[in-house]
């Protein structure tokens, strides 16, 4: 709005003046008391510890000496003034606009509530104890979840589980074929990386042809399953946690319970079985893609013919090696389903907790995949597989 000739120029600063003469002191307020105004005079007044010394009586009258505009800052000032005034002083606000008094009454209508005292910080010994307790509890819960899941999967396999076939098929297609493109890319690249790494060493001995063996063995025994596990924990494990977490926030899981469905039977078992079925298939695919990647790298950088490479690859692969990789993949599938679904079901009721649950699901799945990988590798070594 353009200023017109008739508008009176208004100071954009808050003004105040304390007058100690007369029977009681008068604090006159003037000017603009808004968020945009210059409040330095008011702040300086409150900051001065002697500003209110030597008042003639126990009443301090606050008067409106031309307040042009006011907002919350005026209210804040008056609340601070009440605290800063010497003990026993009463503020007489009757001279202020009625809106100011109404808002101050409203603000003091409900007495402030003191925050419950925080419990004392535990000592480091207590913290270690609490952390170990939580760790045991967490492991116990995971195991119980796994046992429940096994029972539920058993019911489902004998046809007594209560789930919708359409849901199961949806999950199957989502965690199976849907993952193929990204898995192909990742595995192809890993196969190439293994080939390049091996090539540098094997060239020193003139044994380039063994590149094919290295890639084939690495992909079938280890990398195929591991890459599938990592891709699927990021893709499907996170999706499970987010999906079930959102259902928890939305009270859908409560609704399932009251409709007589066990969330374990209805939601978790189909997902776990779908992953258990799909993971070995995906791992086979990943192995093939990795071997293809190794072949591309090997044939492109060394003088190996495709026929030579293929022959060497086939001679180094064994049913035992492939089977051991597929078993790992199946185990990872269970790990991903359990961590994803458990975090989702245990999710809190807020939007934030869905994010936390999803993060925890992916982190847990990857950590446990690596741990299981090492355990199974040790087991294979002991059994001589």
């Amino acid at each position: 709005m353009a200023p017109t000739a008739s508008t009176v120029p208004v100071s954009t600063a808050a003004g105040l003046r304390l007058d100690r003469g007369g029977p009681s002191a008068v604090l006159s307020l003037s000017g603009t008391w808004t968020l945009a105004a210059d409040l330095s005079a008011a702040n300086a007044f409150l900051a001065d510890p002697h500003a209110l010394d030597g008042l003639p009586s126990s009443t301090l009258r606050v008067a409106d000496a031309g307040i042009a505009a006011w907002d919350s800052p005026l209210l804040v000032f008056l609340r601070r003034l009440a605290v800063a005034a010497p003990k026993g002083t009463t503020l007489d606000l009757s001279g202020l606009p009625s809106g100011v008094r109404a808002l101050l009454d409203l603000a003091s209508a409900v007495p402030p509530r003191a925050r419950d005292a925080a419990p004392p910080e535990p000592s480091w010994l207590a913290r270690v104890g609490l952390a170990s307790q939580a760790c045991f509890q967490h492991t116990g819960e995971s195991l119980r979840f796994l046992v429940d899941l096994a029972a539920s999967a058993g019911r489902m396999l004998v046809g007594k589980g209560r789930h919708r076939r359409a849901d199961f098929l949806d999950v199957l297609s989502e965690c199976g074929p849907g993952a193929l493109p990204i898995l192909f890319l990742m595995s192809l690249l890993v196969g190439m990386i293994v080939a390049f790494l091996g090539a540098i060493q094997l060239k020193l001995f003139g044994a380039e042809i063994f590149i094919a063996d290295a890639v084939a063995i690495a992909m079938t025994r280890e990398m195929g399953a591991l890459m599938t596990g990592i891709v699927m924990s990021g893709r499907t494990g996170a999706a499970f946690a987010a999906r079930l977490g959102t259902m928890q926030v939305n009270e859908e899981i409560d609704a399932l319970r009251t409709l007589g469905f066990s969330p374990m039977d209805y939601l978790v078992a189909p997902r776990a079985l779908a992953l258990l079925l799909m993971m070995p298939l995906l791992a086979t695919y990943s192995m093939a893609a990795g071997i293809l990647g190794g072949a591309i790298a090997g044939i492109a950088t060394m003088d190996l013919t495709p026929a030579q490479y293929l022959h060497e690859t086939l001679s180094s692969m064994s049913v035992k090696g492939i089977a051991s990789g597929l078993f790992k993949a199946a185990v990872y599938g269970v790990v991903i389903a359990v961590s994803g679904c458990r975090q989702g079901i245990a999710c809190g009721r807020s939007a934030e907790s869905v994010g936390t649950a999803t993060t925890a699901a992916v982190v847990n799945a990857i950590v446990w995949i690596i741990v299981m990988d090492s355990l199974i590798s040790v087991l294979y070594m002991l059994l001589g597989i």
Partner: protein
């Protein structure tokens, strides 16, 4: 005409649509200063959609929304931001940021839109929380308090920048009758003390009849407004059967007053 006597909010031939699907068309209404303006209508008639269009969350398919003299959707982004700073919105569930305490929630608009030092911001946040009856709750997280308190905390955040227009989306939804009445009282007192204008989306009869001073009635069947005016007046004289059914909870209106010819 100066800004002072211009209506703070005005809708002109407003058409609301999601893609091809028209929700409401040709809405024309004026919200005057100091009004408690009720947006009412049955479920699914587009009340909340209208609110989203008024507060700049969604661009209307046709028509204009005026804040004072400024056409909101024709303004450039900086002017739009300035307009939005003059309004406050209370969302249905409070819409508090769950990772922040109540005091931090109220402080967010103050920190970004004013040059105040942290100490003053803290004091302002405490004042706003005290105004809605939540003094001393500044350090609580939204998850630690009840739904009604969350709603009031949302109101404290909406009040942070001393808005000229306050929008309420279903303020009494999910509240018990006593809390709902208290929220109504709080809205009235804040309006009187701050001189603000309130726009309230609601279908809570008790509330809209007691506080509303003006209204627009959206009809889901004809997809447009079928009545405007103070809800109590509509209850008394609106001839439209849909409006009457709504305001009387489906009970039949009294027989129409026949114009008696004086003997």
């Amino acid at each position: 005409m100066t800004a002072a006597d211009q209506a703070p909010l005005r809708a002109e031939h407003l058409t609301l649509a999601y893609g091809e699907r028209v929700i409401q068309r040709d809405l024309d209404f004026t919200v005057n200063r100091g009004d408690i303006f009720i947006v009412m209508g049955g479920s699914g008639c587009g009340k909340s959609t209208l609110l989203r269009h008024l507060i700049g969350l969604q661009r209307p398919a046709a028509g204009r929304v005026f804040y004072g003299a400024a056409d909101y959707w024709a303004a450039d982004p900086a002017d739009r931001a300035a307009i939005l700073r003059r309004i406050g919105v209370l969302y249905q569930g409070g819409a508090l940021f769950s990772s922040m305490t109540l005091a931090e929630n109220v402080a967010v608009p103050l920190e970004t839109c004013t040059p105040l030092p942290p100490r003053d911001i803290r004091a302002l946040a405490e004042l706003k929380l005290a105004l809605v009856g939540l003094a001393g709750f500044g350090d609580y997280y939204p998850s630690e308090i009840s739904g009604g308190m969350r709603k009031r905390a949302g109101l404290a955040r909406a009040l942070a920048l001393d808005p000229e227009i306050l929008f309420f989306d279903e303020p009494s939804a999910g509240l018990d009758p006593v809390s709902a009445k208290r929220l109504d009282d709080l809205m009235l007192r804040l309006r009187d003390a701050l001189g603000a204008t309130l726009v309230v989306v609601t279908h809570e009869l008790a509330s809209l009849l007691s506080i509303g001073t003006n209204s627009v009635f959206l009809d889901a069947a004809t997809l447009t407004q079928i009545a405007t005016g103070a809800p109590r007046d509509l209850l008394a004289d609106c001839p439209d059967p849909t409006v009457q059914a709504f305001l009387r909870r489906g009970e039949l209106p009294p027989p129409p007053k026949t114009k008696e010819t004086r003997p």
